[in-house]
């Protein structure tokens, strides 16, 4: 009749009296050193990106530096940071290792907005029309997304709303392409959708930076809610986390951070998907631990990819620069296969 004879180590232990308060989160020191390394990497890439032009390593004159390389470098860092962070947040919020900012359809509607500008040839009269069109497209897409998802969405309802917005923007984009007024508009739209950072100006930076930074500020605050959500929406609610509000903020922050990025850089896929997966082996899988690191790693990845685009003509016989979105997709696609095979899918 012995109640304590199982020897399995489960026993009530009285709480320790006046336990020393060690306020340390698991792996905190490691997280900090990874963040430091990533910060240094981003700084190095920023400098290299300013130094390297299209295949030429030389100190440029002031004009080239300010008008061409600085906007390009700043945009690569901003867009990459927004994509990396929103990817980490969405994977955490939706509890899905295959989630990507493109899933919500906002990057698609940003592309549609830009396509509309090309369609009417507005950019020829007013240079900032293109990024403004992209931003307007992202804003309209975000409005539709939040309206479709409702006030307190669950993960699946948010994904369904994103699929609806994606389908809508894809069909309208196909319509714009098929009705394109001339072959040049068609070519311009298609090439822009491939994504790139060449020929961007400080106006692009000024237009994209505020929404991206606002989105980043919203997304960085979601950490504890995402941690709770890893136990499911019901358990997160029992821990006092407002689940619907967290998902709405994740979608809004993604719309700002990734949507504004797509508005100035076109479709750059796979960065948001891949970055959190690159970091999990280093930092563990706790969603909140990945957020700041994904921001930095996204910036580093896009800076590096854009550098590769600029260096590629030196080694490959290319008559045109390689589109940035093509490069990230070429490198990202095999990576997704590896993730899908390795990750224990739910």
């Amino acid at each position: 009749m012995s109640d304590g004879g199982h020897g399995d180590g489960v026993a009530w232990v009285p709480p320790p009296v006046a336990a020393p308060g060690r306020f340390a989160v698991c792996g905190d020191k490691k997280t900090r050193s990874v963040l430091c390394l990533l910060g240094v990497l981003v700084l190095i890439l920023l400098v290299v990106s300013l130094l390297i032009g299209d295949g030429i390593l030389a100190l440029p004159d002031r004009l080239i530096l300010l008008q061409i390389r600085l906007p390009r470098t700043l945009l690569a860092a901003l867009v990459g940071a927004g994509l990396g962070l929103s990817g980490a947040v969405l994977q955490g919020a939706l509890r899905n290792p295959l989630a990507d900012p493109g899933l919500l359809g906002i990057t698609g509607t940003a592309g549609l907005g830009a396509a509309v500008v090309f369609y009417w040839g507005l950019a020829a009269h007013f240079a900032p029309a293109l990024p403004l069109g992209g931003l307007a497209g992202a804003a309209v897409g975000a409005t539709f997304l939040l309206a479709f998802a409702g006030r307190a969405p669950s993960g699946p309802s948010l994904i369904l709303a994103g699929i609806a917005v994606s389908a809508l923007s894809a069909s309208l984009l196909a319509l714009a392409l098929s009705l394109a007024p001339n072959p040049f508009a068609l070519a311009e739209i298609t090439f822009w959708l491939l994504g790139g950072l060449n020929d961007r100006s400080l106006i692009h930076v000024a237009l994209a930076a505020p929404p991206i930074l606002l989105g980043v500020a919203i997304l960085l605050r979601l950490g504890p809610g995402l941690d709770a959500l890893s136990l499911g929406e019901e358990t997160a609610a029992s821990l006092g986390v407002p689940v619907g509000r967290t998902l709405v903020l994740a979608a809004t922050g993604t719309a700002l951070a990734a949507g504004a990025g797509a508005a100035v850089a076109g479709g750059i896929g796979f960065v948001g998907l891949v970055v959190p997966h690159l970091l999990r082996p280093l930092l563990g899988q706790r969603p909140s631990a990945l957020l700041p690191a994904s921001l930095l790693a996204g910036a580093a990845l896009l800076l590096a990819a854009d550098l590769l685009v600029r260096v590629a003509p030196l080694v490959l016989p290319l008559s045109q620069p390689l589109p940035l979105g093509v490069l990230t997709a070429l490198l990202g696609a095999p990576f997704v296969v590896v993730i899908a095979r390795r990750a224990p899918l739910p």
């Binding site: 109640d3 489960v10 340390a24 509890r95 358990t235 821990l239």
Partner: protein
């Protein structure tokens, strides 16, 4: 300190699931909710946790809820899972987490990933998350499902001693033998209403009626655990 719930009727998707619910949970007691599948046990537990529309909201610092078959979407470490229990307190206090891991017997597994330990150990990690909150009221949906008999008994023993140390614990329990043996009180739920609310030692006839099985009468099949059978000469 008592916790009470009074629900004339509770509907989910305009379908009544619970009716005429009135119960009070007292400090120091381990309460088992038993009943056939579909009787509304999980719904009653969610209602007690204030997770359903129309139920009184609870302070997440004082109430810990463990969902049926709860699992973690990401491969966190055991220590990280337990630390999630501190989210309602908005702190990263280490002492309650360590203590919770120790109580659940998984302190040595603290840095192991939850996808690389056994199912029973993962279940205890989830339980440690509830303990780390240091709540006054535990609401646990089948905390011993798919655990081996020794571990299941150890968990029930832990919950009983936790309750007796001044908390309140409610478990949905399919293992009638564990409920009778460890709970102070058994609530028998049938078709969405409370069919019986009795001290555990008197609950056998009500349970037999609810399940339509002759518990405690037939020696076969053996539903009581070995320790409950007096084998002494």
């Amino acid at each position: 300190m008592t916790w009470s719930l009074s629900l004339p009727v509770l509907s989910l998707n305009s379908h009544p699931v619970l009716h005429d619910i009135a119960l009070t949970l007292r400090r120091g007691e381990l309460v088992a909710i038993c009943g056939p599948n579909g009787a509304g046990k999980t719904t009653l537990l969610r209602a007690l946790a204030g997770l359903l529309p129309g139920t009184p909201p609870r302070d997440p610092r004082r109430v810990a809820y463990l969902a049926q078959g709860a699992r973690c979407a990401w491969a966190l470490t055991v220590g990280q899972v337990a630390a999630l229990g501190r989210i309602p307190h908005r702190d990263a206090a280490d002492a309650p987490v360590t203590h919770a891991l120790q109580s659940c017997g998984i302190l040595p597994l603290r840095d192991r990933r939850v996808d690389r330990i056994s199912g029973g150990e993962a279940r205890r990690a989830m339980l440690a998350r509830a303990f780390a909150t240091e709540p006054d009221l535990f609401l646990l949906d089948e905390p011993t499902a798919d655990l081996d008999p020794a571990t299941a008994q150890a968990i029930m023993r832990l919950l009983r001693s936790t309750a007796e140390a001044g908390r309140t614990a409610v478990v949905v329990q399919h293992a009638v033998d564990l409920a009778i043996r460890y709970a102070h009180r058994i609530i028998v739920l049938q078709s969405g209403h409370i069919a019986a609310d009795l001290p555990a030692r008197d609950a056998l006839p009500a349970l037999a009626a609810a399940f339509g099985l002759p518990f405690g009468v037939d020696p076969e099949p053996r539903l009581l655990s070995r320790d409950d059978c007096d084998l002494s000469p």
